[in-house]
């Protein structure tokens, strides 16, 4: 490994490391505009010039373009190099407008910093500056091309790193223009990153435009909870309002970037209709009063109908603290354990995934980038967890083969093999690939169970065109050195997470190394599955209410009206309740119906932790103290100068603290009293769930810790002998309805964001050309889709990248799809009409 000396300090780095990176490791930050650690070097700006005094290269050279080599002696402070950099900045500033006072980047602008640091103060060039026309780039990004210094970071990110091609470079030399062919919304769901990486103010954050300088904001590290990946973010808040969100570097999760759903989804926390006061029916009361009233009602019901007469629903968007306290609450009261999942199937799938993920198999997103073969089963990354698509693209750029087995019309920003098969055929299709690539002897070595799994799994996929394509894929898989299986949990069957894990085990046995990556539906689905011991579901609770055994229902940050498939049935059940208690921060439908409502705090107002889909416990600090945004009570003017002790609208409390207070009132004498200390709650969690024992909760912002259940105790290969051959049960008279996610418009929290609402696409029904021609339907026709409890009207889209025998529809905010009795839904073919 090359050893070199930079500014008198010696360092040894891996071969291929650039001098600029080697210096950064020593804590020497060489000026840069075009170089970005996530994008690599390009040598466009010339500002990273340093002097090479000894070694194979001599003189002033670009440190971002020079590989570190043995014997190099580098000076970053050399007079000649410093003078060179100063002149580079001067010429980059030649056309740059002096509009810093009205530019949103001012205060955290790299160009501004380096101009000051480099010592360029007086303008010598007196000619006219080059000017451009700006473009409308949509809701998120503000364009101001005159400020451009041609570093190419935006284009390199947008086209090369992310794989979208509607923003690029036009023209030549000092006229080079970065933009689109015409005005319009940027098509990439990762477009916001060009704001973060632009070294000056060409792209600025549009929603937070003119809301403050960097030092005006309360800023802090936090987490994105708009999908299960748990990307790291930085929050900015001002005037009691969450204003802006940026990507925070994370070594193992998101790298340098985040998606637009994460960046612009946070507006639910400022929502003008967000309930901020406790309520008894429609009357606003103090939080303490509401807790007292709730305690009385709960005691009444418990005395009359027993402890099992109150059911609790938690949610997978709640933090670990809320989920754990709800469980603790129910256990102490002797109630049934809370429910976190909509259907028993969903509960089972997630629990199996959590049970099967172990330390050896689990991979992080950064490790996916290193895979040379990715096999995604029942996963639609761009729509379910956008940042995963970006990680897969990096693997693709390193020449990995990527295969997606999914019935939906999956789009990914790179070339991949799509095997569109029906949900029932996902498993046989997967095992056929594995059997083709793994020799029987590998399974034999793993024991009897593995061999049974191997021998009984179908070896061939019956559908000829797909079977033919699989031949080439298995060849690639056979040569792969680091295969990774990605398995979704939304549209797959109950056993699929197990089959995926077993397939990964077989691949590991055959190839020496393999990874497993599950996708889950929400930010803390993994946490919910770890903490809850029962496999109950919302469906069971609704049944109990109908039977009359449950009289009271408590929702903790949960809105079943959004996710429960049968709206009518749920509404009738809720109407029957004696007590309907809701704790939430969203203006949800359930919150409106609540008999008793408690306002809770969002992620941005409390210190919390979430467990992402690879079992990584991650932490967030509070960004600000909450309360009604000043902009919402001042009608745009200057807020009143009224002195008060409390924060207006700041009554919200963490749900777990409300639960603790409630528990302390209703608990019988002699029972455990709950403390309001987070550390005390965590020591309870660590005691009850030993896998959490290593979580360093006392630190201010602890490092992530991975927690995995499977430690050799789990039964491997449980689905041996159960995977039936593919394509057998296909009925020609019905179509299976698959409901999926869309990047914008389906995830609960982000659908409350006014900016994401503007970029949502209108919901539509996808159908394969084969089925459409049988029904005589045409592309873009309005159609009626009959469901168990009514019908839906929407546009039909015919796409040839999806499985026949299946229709696909998003769980879209604009679609009242909750007319389904139970999953899976089969629709008779003749029933779909114009």
């Amino acid at each position: 490994m090359p050893k070199l000396k930079i500014d008198g300090l010696e360092i040894e780095v891996e071969r291929g490391t650039k001098v600029i990176e080697a210096a950064a490791r020593l804590g020497i930050i060489i000026p840069r505009f075009c170089f970005h650690p996530g994008l690599g070097p390009v040598g466009a700006c010339r500002v990273c010039a340093v002097k090479f005094e000894e070694g194979p290269v001599k003189g002033v050279q670009m440190s971002c373009m020079t590989d570190a080599q043995d014997g190099m002696v580098v000076s970053t402070t050399d007079e000649e190099a410093a003078d060179f950099r100063k002149h580079v900045i001067e010429w980059l500033m030649m056309n740059h407008p002096h509009d810093c006072p009205v530019c949103d980047e001012g205060g955290h602008c790299l160009l501004q910093d380096l101009t000051v640091a480099g010592g360029h103060g007086i303008r010598r060039y007196l000619g006219k500056k080059r000017t451009y026309n700006d473009q409308y780039l949509g809701v998120f990004v503000q364009h101001e091309m005159n400020r451009c210094i041609q570093c190419w970071r935006c284009r390199r990110f947008y086209q090369e790193f992310a794989g979208y091609r509607d923003l690029g470079a036009l023209q030549i030399a000092h006229h080079t223009y970065f933009g689109r062919a015409t005005d319009g919304q940027l098509e990439s769901p990762f477009s916001g990153n060009i704001i973060d990486i632009c070294p000056t103010g060409v792209y600025t954050d549009k929603p937070s435009r003119f809301t403050g300088r960097r030092w005006d904001f309360e800023r802090g590290p936090s987490l994105c909870i708009h999908c299960s990946l748990g990307c790291h973010i930085i929050t900015s808040a001002r005037y009691r309002e969450m204003t802006r969100l940026e990507a925070r570097f994370s070594e193992s999760v998101n790298g340098y970037f985040i998606c637009d759903r994460g960046r612009y989804g946070f507006y639910y926390t400022n929502h003008p209709e967000r309930p901020r006061r406790a309520r008894i029916r429609t009357e606003e009361v103090s939080l303490d009063q509401a807790i007292q009233t709730a305690a009385q009602k709960i005691i009444q019901i418990n005395q009359k109908n027993g402890p099992k007469a109150i059911a609790c629903l938690g949610s997978a968007r709640s933090c670990v603290e809320n989920q754990a306290m709800l469980i603790r609450f129910c256990r102490v009261q002797g109630w049934n354990e809370p429910t976190y999942f909509e259907t028993p199937t969903m509960a089972k799938k997630v629990k199996r995934a959590v049970a099967r993920l172990d330390e050896q198999l689990a991979v992080s997103m950064r490790e996916i980038e290193k895979a040379d073969f990715i096999l995604a089963v029942g996963a639609d990354p761009v729509n379910e967890a956008p940042m995963l698509a970006l990680a897969m693209r990096q693997a693709f750029r390193n020449e990995a083969t990527i295969v997606v087995i999914d019935p939906r019309p999956v789009f990914l920003p790179f070339e991949f093999e799509h095997l569109p098969v029906a949900p029932d055929d996902l498993e046989p299709c997967l095992t056929a690939l594995i059997k083709g690539a793994v020799h029987r002897s590998a399974a034999e070595k793993m024991g009897e169970e593995a061999l049974r799994f191997y021998d009984t799994a179908p070896a061939e996929y019956p559908d000829a065109p797909i079977k033919n394509r699989m031949v080439k894929i298995t060849q690639k898989l056979r040569q792969s050195r680091y295969p990774v299986i990605i398995c979704g949990t939304s549209i797959v069957r109950e056993t699929t997470p197990d089959v995926a894990a077993d397939s990964a085990l077989l691949l590991r046995a055959a190839r020496g190394r393999a990874g497993l990556f599950y996708l889950m539906s929400e930010a803390n689905t993994f946490g919910a599955a770890l903490l809850s011991s029962e496999e109950g579901s919302v469906m069971d609770v609704v049944e109990s209410i109908e039977k009359g055994s449950v009289k009271g229902l408590m929702l903790v940050e949960s809105d079943p009206f959004r996710s429960f498939p049968d709206y009518e049935r749920l509404k009738q059940a809720v109407d029957k309740l004696d007590l309907f208690l809701v704790m939430d921060y969203l203006p949800s439908f359930a919150a409106r119906l609540a008999h008793l409502f408690f306002p809770t705090q969002t992620l941005f107002e409390m210190e919390t932790s979430f467990v992402n889909q690879e079992g990584r416990v991650q932490f967030a600090t509070s960004a600000y103290r909450g309360g009604i945004p000043i902009s919402q009570i001042s009608a745009g003017g200057h807020p009143l100068r009224v002195f008060r002790r409390d924060i207006p609208g700041g009554e919200s409390q963490p749900a777990w603290q409300i639960l603790a207070k409630l528990a302390n009132i209703i608990s019988l004498p002699g029972r455990e009293m709950f403390s309001l200390s987070k550390n005390e709650l965590w020591s309870w969690i660590a005691k009850e769930y030993p896998i959490f024992a290593n979580v360093p909760i006392a630190d201010e912002l602890p490092d992530d810790v991975r927690v995995h259940l499977a430690q050799g105790r789990e039964k491997l290969f449980p689905s041996g002998g159960q995977i039936r051959s593919g394509g057998l049960s296909r009925e020609n008279s019905t179509l299976e309805l698959v409901m999926g996610d869309w990047t914008f418009g389906t995830e609960e929290l982000s659908t409350y964001s006014k900016y994401l609402q503007q970029v949502e696409k209108e919901p539509c029904l996808f159908m394969s050309p084969k089925d459409a021609s049988m029904l005589g339907l045409k592309d873009r026709e309005r159609i009626t889709l009959p469901l168990d409890k009514g019908r839906l009207e929407m546009e039909l889209r015919i796409v040839d990248t999806m499985a026949p025998g299946v229709i696909v529809m998003p769980k879209h905010r604009q679609l009242a799809w909750q007319k389904i009795e139970k999953w899976p839904v089969k629709v008779a073919m003749g029933q779909i009409r114009k």
Binding site: R165, L170, Q171, I172, A181, T182
Partner: protein, 150 residues
């Protein structure tokens, strides 16, 4: 430009993305410029994003997004021609034709452009009209130079 004509050009190069420059050159030769609708058609037909087609179309001086005249005058402003008064030739042409550099006369007779070296510095100052080099120019020679072009 009719779709069939564009199709023929695209087909000639096997619709490969790498051939986009040659395709645009052929369209330019045919139309004397690159009409927007034609570029949009090429973008759709070849499944190349519009921004990429535009990138090529705006990168090269030889390609134009604006309609051109029947005859193209390129005045050299490279170092050698500049020293020998290339800018004076350009100035005279601008005054005589009543247009600025980069523009086309109203009667679509001439388009005036400047270039940076055409590779015959010993002849400077030089202007290239429709591919023919006219060397050792002076302001006095300019009117005679233009009269042969209709």
């Amino acid at each position: 430009m009719e779709a069939s004509k564009i199709d023929r050009i695209v087909r000639q190069y096997g619709a490969r993305e790498s051939a986009i420059l040659a395709i645009l050159q052929d369209i330019q030769a045919e139309e004397k410029y690159l009409p927007r609708e034609t570029l949009e058609y090429v973008s759709q037909k070849m499944r190349i994003p519009m921004v990429h087609v535009f990138r090529i179309a705006t990168f090269y001086n030889a390609l134009s997004l604006k309609p051109r005249g029947r005859h193209k005058i390129d005045v050299c402003l490279g170092t050698a021609c500049h020293v020998r008064g290339g800018d004076k030739i350009l100035d005279k042409l601008e005054r005589d034709l009543g247009i600025s550099v980069g523009e086309t006369t109203k009667d679509k007779r001439f388009t005036l452009e400047s270039v940076h070296c055409v590779g015959c510095c010993s002849l400077g100052p030089v202007a290239v009209i429709d591919g023919d080099v006219h060397g050792r120019l002076s302001q006095e020679k300019v009117p005679g130079l233009l009269k042969d072009f209709k």
